[in-house]
Structure formats: structure tokens, C-alpha cells
């Protein structure tokens, strides 16, 4: 028993990721944790999107299933699983069957390298960012084949749109990412890194998030990526492959039930994936905000209390709403449910104040908080923007983002080598 505790402790305090340590068992545990967490995040995201969007649009959103519709995503999931799974008679059955799995596989596999903390990643690949971009670009294969296999007009147009769109925006995205990789090489050895953990550590050692690096170059790069990532995930205002007013539902028009829910799952996990790339590359990954301005042990302690405080606040919100529940026998179960939910949140919050937990969870909390910010942005976009037309979308991708990305890359390289360049210039000048 004691050995077991030591064994677990050795991994909790390990300075390597389970993949790096080569421990298959712990890697499996992490994989289960990450994918379980991801599924929960997608479910939560589903509820949050409907609620937040509803409140932006002067309505209430789901209110019936559970208190404030909290159980709505679960009800939806059950409905989708029980729904008839229709395969059109004229569809290419094999491809139709495989397509959603390709999308889900691609969307989930990228999380292998997402760094939730210095050691909280399934593995730390040497080519982390390249792996993420490559694997996430595979999901378009699933979308294209889904559209083609449905053998119907709207899905095919949706598939063509999405393949053109994703290939186009990957270029701009890649250029923005490259500028960050150039920034990582600004150290004593002069070698950069593609590793996700390495990129965050580079920001730590350089004492600056890359969004502020070479102001405004980092910011521009971040914006290019932030636009391209919305296009890459087919979300509003770039949701042309599934533009419901034109193509009914785009590439997944013919899908239903479980298979459709796989697309849904993939879309949301892809959103989380690209947001984590953005957070890792520009927003300092798991690093807490204001590391320079509010530095010191005391501030570290204050910031490490945030996870607990957040959960306690959420719990208080639940209790407040419990108190506001209508006092009617019909609402009894709902009231109890909400109070129970609040109690659970509060307990988690209290647990997060406990030092051994607190120390190990802070990184994950900050990472998740930043990603959650992006998720909110996604919802906000959807509530605000109309949809781009296809030619305009291409114009933005190729004529605006791509040249900006190229210029950004050159400028970043120039800024990184400015002392050398300056010395060379002086040499030329002196030589004359």
C-alpha cells in the first residue's frame, strides 16, 4: 500500500510527462483523463453555448431538463444515441460509415500533445506543434469524404467548400505559427523548438508571452491565427461548409443520430484543440497572468487560490439561484438538484484550496481558463456576425491573411536578428 502511494507520488511529482517517461500505464491514465475531460468539456460547452447565446438573444435557452437546463446536453446525447441511424440508399456505405470516425479520431488525437501544465500532457513530442497542425488537418479528409459519400447536392457543395477553405486557411495559420517558432529561438543557444511544452517554457524564460513579443508583431500573428482558427473549425462567421441557410446543413446533411453526434463532438473538440494551440503559442499556456507586474511568492500564492475561488463563486451562484427558485412543489426536485450541484461545486472549490491539490492544479486551471475565454469568443462571434460569402472568405484567406503572414514572418525574423543585421550593416558601412 505504501509502495503504491509512493509510486503514485513519484508520478505526481515527476518532472516529465508520462510519454516522456515512457510509462505506458500512466500514459493510459492520462489519455483517459484527457479524453474524459474533453468529453465533459464538450458537453459543458454545448450547454454553455446554448445558454450564453440565448442570453445574448434575449431568450432563456434550455430551462426544462434539470435546473436551468443543466441536464439538457445529457438528454440530447441520449436522444442522439437512440435516434435511427439513416444511411441513404444511394450513399457509398463504407465511406459514409468511416467518415465521422476520421473526423473524431483527428480531433481527439491532437490532444496527445496539448500541455495542460509543465508535466500535465500525455506526451511531449519534439514536433508537438507540427503534429497538432498535421493531425488536425486530417479532419478535413473526414469532412470531404462525408460530403462525397452522402451522394447528395448540398453535402457535396459543403465538402468542396470545406476542403478549399481549410487548405487555404492552413497556410495563413502555418505562417503565424512559424513566427512564434522563430521567437522561441531567441535564447542563448539560438535553437528554437516545436515542442508545445518547450514553447511555453520559452515564454517563461523570456519573461514575456509571445502575444506581447516584438509589439505589435506578436499581436498580429495572434490575430491571424485567431481568425484562421475560426475558419479552420468551420464556425461562424466562417461556417460556410454547414451554412444552414444555404446548404441546409452542409456536409452532414444526410447524417443522423450517433454519426451526426460524432461530427458535433469533433467540431467542439477541434475548437478546444485550436484554442489550446493559440493559448500555448501566444498566451503563455499554463502560465498565470501578470508574471512580471505581480511577481513574488505572495502573488504566486494569491494566484494559486484562483481555482478554488472560481469554484466557490460558481457554487455561491448556484445557491443564489436555488434561493430564487419558485417555491412550488413542482420545482422541488429542480431546487434540490441545483442545490446539490452547488454543493458539489463548493466541495470541489474547497478541495482546490488544499495545498497538495492546489499546487498541482493551478497550471491546469489557468490553461483551461484561457481556453474557456476562447470558447466564449466563439459563441460571441456566432451571436454577432453574419456569415461570409465563399469568395469573400477566400479573399480574406489568400489576399489578406497570407500576405500579412508572410510579412509577419520576415519582420519577426528581422527583429530576432536585429543585432546581427545591425552589426553587418555597420560592417558594410565601415568597409566602404
Amino acid at each position: 500500500m505504501h509502495d503504491l502511494i509512493l509510486y503514485i507520488q513519484s508520478y505526481l511529482d515527476s518532472d516529465r510527462t508520462p510519454g516522456g517517461a515512457g510509462n505506458v500505464f500512466w500514459a493510459t491514465v492520462y489519455i483517459l483523463l484527457v479524453f474524459g475531460g474533453l468529453s465533459v468539456a464538450v458537453i459543458a460547452m454545448n450547454w454553455l453555448e446554448r445558454k450564453i447565446l440565448a442570453h445574448m438573444q434575449v431568450r432563456l435557452g434550455p430551462m426544462r431538463v434539470g435546473p436551468h437546463g443543466l441536464l439538457q446536453p445529457i438528454a440530447d446525447a441520449i436522444k442522439l444515441l437512440l435516434k435511427e441511424d439513416i444511411i441513404p440508399a444511394e450513399a457509398d456505405k463504407l465511406v459514409f460509415w468511416i467518415a465521422p470516425f476520421i473526423v473524431v479520431l483527428a480531433a481527439f488525437t491532437v490532444f496527445v500533445v496539448v500541455p495542460f501544465g509543465p508535466t500535465h500532457a500525455i506526451t511531449d513530442m519534439n514536433i508537438g506543434i507540427l503534429f497538432m497542425l498535421g493531425v488536425s488537418s486530417l479532419s478535413v479528409l473526414g469532412i470531404v469524404t462525408a460530403g462525397w459519400a452522402s451522394n447528395s447536392h448540398y453535402p457535396l457543395i459543403g465538402a468542396l467548400r470545406s476542403s478549399a477553405q481549410m487548405v487555404s486557411y492552413e497556410v495563413a495559420m502555418g505562417l503565424a505559427v512559424l513566427s512564434v517558432i522563430l521567437m522561441t529561438s531567441l535564447n542563448a543557444t539560438g535553437t528554437g523548438t516545436l515542442s508545445m511544452i518547450g514553447i511555453v517554457q520559452a515564454q517563461l524564460t523570456q519573461g514575456e508571452w509571445f502575444i506581447f513579443k516584438f509589439f505589435p508583431l506578436g499581436l498580429i500573428g495572434f490575430f491571424i491565427f485567431a481568425i484562421a482558427m475560426v475558419a479552420e473549425t468551420n464556425r461562424a462567421p466562417f461556417d460556410l461548409p454547414e451554412a444552414e441557410s444555404e446548404l441546409t446543413a452542409g456536409f452532414h446533411t444526410e447524417y443522423s443520430g450517433f454519426r451526426w453526434s460524432l461530427f458535433f463532438l469533433a467540431e467542439y473538440s477541434a475548437m478546444i484543440a485550436v484554442s489550446s494551440i493559440a493559448v500555448t503559442l501566444w498566451l503563455g499556456g499554463w502560465l498565470r497572468p501578470f508574471p512580471n507586474w505581480l511577481s513574488g511568492d505572495r502573488w504566486d500564492l494569491v494566484f494559486s487560490l484562483f481555482p478554488g475561488i472560481t469554484f466557490v463563486l460558481l457554487a455561491l451562484m448556484c445557491f443564489y439561484n436555488t434561493a430564487r427558485m419558485p417555491k412550488h412543489p413542482l420545482f422541488k426536485i429542480q431546487t434540490i438538484g441545483l442545490a446539490g450541484f452547488g454543493a458539489v461545486l463548493g466541495l470541489i472549490g474547497l478541495l482546490l484550496f488544499w495545498t497538495p491539490v492546489r499546487v498541482r492544479v493551478t497550471d491546469i486551471f489557468w490553461f483551461a481558463a484561457k481556453v474557456a475565454g476562447f470558447m466564449y469568443l466563439y459563441i460571441w462571434y456566432r451571436g454577432t456576425f453574419p456569415r461570409y460569402r465563399f469568395d469573400q472568405l477566400m479573399k480574406v484567406g489568400w489576399k489578406i491573411l497570407l500576405p500579412m503572414g508572410l510579412a509577419l514572418l520576415i519582420l519577426t525574423a528581422g527583429m530576432g536578428m536585429r543585432t546581427e543585421l545591425w552589426a553587418q550593416l555597420q560592417g558594410v558601412w565601415r568597409g566602404q
Binding site: M56, H153, S245, T248, T384
Partner: protein
Amino acid sequence: MSGYRSIWGSRAGNDHCNDPPEIPRLADEGARLRDDADKKASPGGLGTDGIRMTDPNTLSPLDLETPDKTFLDANELIINMGPQHPATHGVLRVILRLDGEKVMGLECVIGYLHRGVEKIAENRTYTMFNPYVDRMDYVAAVSNGLGYCEAVEKLLNVGAPARAQYIRVILTELNRIASHQLWLGTHALDIGAITPLFYTFRDREEILKIFEKYCGARLTTHAFRIGGLQYEAYEGFEREVKNFLTFFTPKIDEYEELLTTNRIWLERTKGVGTISGPDAIALGVTGPVLRASGVKWDIRKAQPYANYKNFEFEVPTGQNGDTYDRYLVRIAEMRQSCRIIEQAVAGVPEGPIMAKVPKVMKPPVGEIYHSIEAPKGELGYFIVSDGSTQPYRIRVRPPSFVNLQALEVMCRGQLVADVIAVIGTLDIVLGEVDR
């Protein structure tokens, strides 16, 4: 894009648009329209207002260049949109002929909601037919009722009393706002902005509440009777209308905040579905669509009916005749409607609300055409009376039906996404198109 057809042609065997339908060509019409436009370089105007014509050479959608043929565009894709489609505003079916995503031609198939309203009219008395007109443009039921009642009144040679006229104007203009709100919400939704829909529906609710309080119905109101009104305005009617105005005027700014300067909205609507003034006139397009093309013509001003001549308001016009201008014109019309309502509420006189009309209406033999400015354009009623209690023939001149005809001209050469935008901007109601 070759090969589209080959995929559809044989593999999508049971698709009902397998056989490419014949799409009528407007080509020779186009040449003629352009000739007309050239001829009418300086057309006459409506007195001082005049008709502001746009340059037909640059804006006519009919003179599209034919794209160079490459090996990719040997075949065209025929795609069927509707009658069940989220963006066709009902049961409109549009058959698109596409080259890639570019629309090479389209044909509207209508009639899915045909109920034979004109035939029904011939078998009902004048009074009995009144509720039926509400079911045509069900979004602007009050306007329909106004047009019908006034037409029959004209035929009977009676006039509604002044008080009734004022209340009619208030309700009709409220209904115009409601109609435009519904248009704005759905149009924005088509273009992908989902939020305005809920804003407009929130505010439309207030109008519907007034209707409900006045006559018990929200949508198909049957608010007016031949000869005036059946119900006296309820207690506090004027106050509630005034309250609505103070509530609603800032809301228009709210809509505009969301859309008017939104870059994506501008890109999606500017230069999309352009129709020049002469083309619009030739195609019989009326209402905001015509005004957005620069023709300042509003029946409320040109041939005032009811008591519109008592009110001061402007007729907003656009310049380019594109989707954005139509949006601006309708937004401006909402403001003008507010203005009219404000004046009308302030001036509602006391008095009777019903003229002396016989219980059994037997208009003398004769025929009459009466038209009003409905929210969607010129709504006309042509009534033939044979002296009996039932109309011999009632013809409804539906604005949506005629405006929808312009869809092909406005869409040719645009992209699929623009077709959606143009269907939205035409503001059609299928109940009225199909009758």
C-alpha cells in the same frame, strides 16, 4: 465544373431534379430592357420628387459577360432548393443552374400554397370575404384588410368616418413595422446573423399585443370592416401606442448597431442582387425594392388613400438598388412609420367609427381597381360587381408575386449564397405569392 452532372445524373437516380428543367431565358428581354434604359435617359418624374435613375449601363444585371469556357465548366449543375429549405421563407422552390457556385440561371416554382382565394371570393359575400384577405400576406394582415375594405367602400361609394380612418392608419403603420421587423429578422438570419431575429421578434411582440388587445387576434387580425371599424379603440389604446413608440424608436438604432456598419454585413449585401430603376419598373417591382433602386414612388404619396395626405412623412430611397440599400430603405421606413403613427395618435378625432353601410351589401354593377402601399409593395384589388351580394370577380394584385419575378434577374451571375440574400431582401410571403 464538369463531372457534377455525371455524379448526380446517374448516381442520384431518384432525385426529383434529375431531369434538367427548361429554364426560361430572359436574354432577349434583357436586350430590350437595356434598350429601354438607354431610351429613357431622362425619364419624367413625379412632380418635384422625380425619379432618380441609376446608371443603367453599369448596374443592369442583365449584361453579364459570359465567362470564358475552360475544361472545367463544360457542364452545369442543376440544384433544387426547396420547397423544403430553411431559407426559402416557406414553400418556394427554386431550381438553380450553377456553374460551380455561380448562378447561371434559375426558375421559381410556386403554387405550393395555392388556396384559390380568388375563387373563394366569388362564392362569398363581400363581408364574408374580408377575413380571407388576412390569410394572403399573413405578416401584414392589417394592410390587406385596409386595401380590401377601401376597395369595397369605393365600390359602394361610402367613406369611413374620420376617427376610423385615423385608427386604421395607426394599425396599418404598426403592421408595416411588424412586417419589416419580421423581414429584418429573417433576412439577417439568412445571411447568418442569428441575433437580430430575436431582437425583432421581441419588439414585434409589443405590436402584436396591441393588435390582440384591439381585436383579439395577433396575426390574422381582421381588424377593419367595410365602412369603418367594428370595435372602438380600447381604453388606453392611444397611450399604449405612444408607449410603444418611445419603446421602439431606440430599438431601431439597436438593430442598426448590429448590422448597418458590420463589415461582413456590408460585404454580403453591398452590390448583391442589384436591380436598376428602369429594370425594376419594367419588371413591375414595387415597394421598398423599387424605392431602393432610386425610384421615389410610394402610393401613400403618389395617390394618397385613407387619410395619408394629412400626415407628414418622407419616402426613403436608395441609390444602388442593391441588398444593402433595400435594407436601409426598410429601416428608414420603420422610422417614417413611427412618425406617421405619432402624428396620427396625436390627432385622433372623436366621432363615429362606422359609416352607414347596408347590412346586405349590393354594390352597383361596375368594376374598380384600388391599390394601397402594403409593406411589400403595391397591393391592388380589382373587384367586378354584378349587383349581387357576392363579388363577380376579385383579382388581387399581390406585390410579393410580382417582386419574386425579379429574382432571376437579380440573381444571375451571383453566387448561391447571394440567392439566399436576394430571396430574403425581396421580402416575399408565400401566402401572398400563391394565394
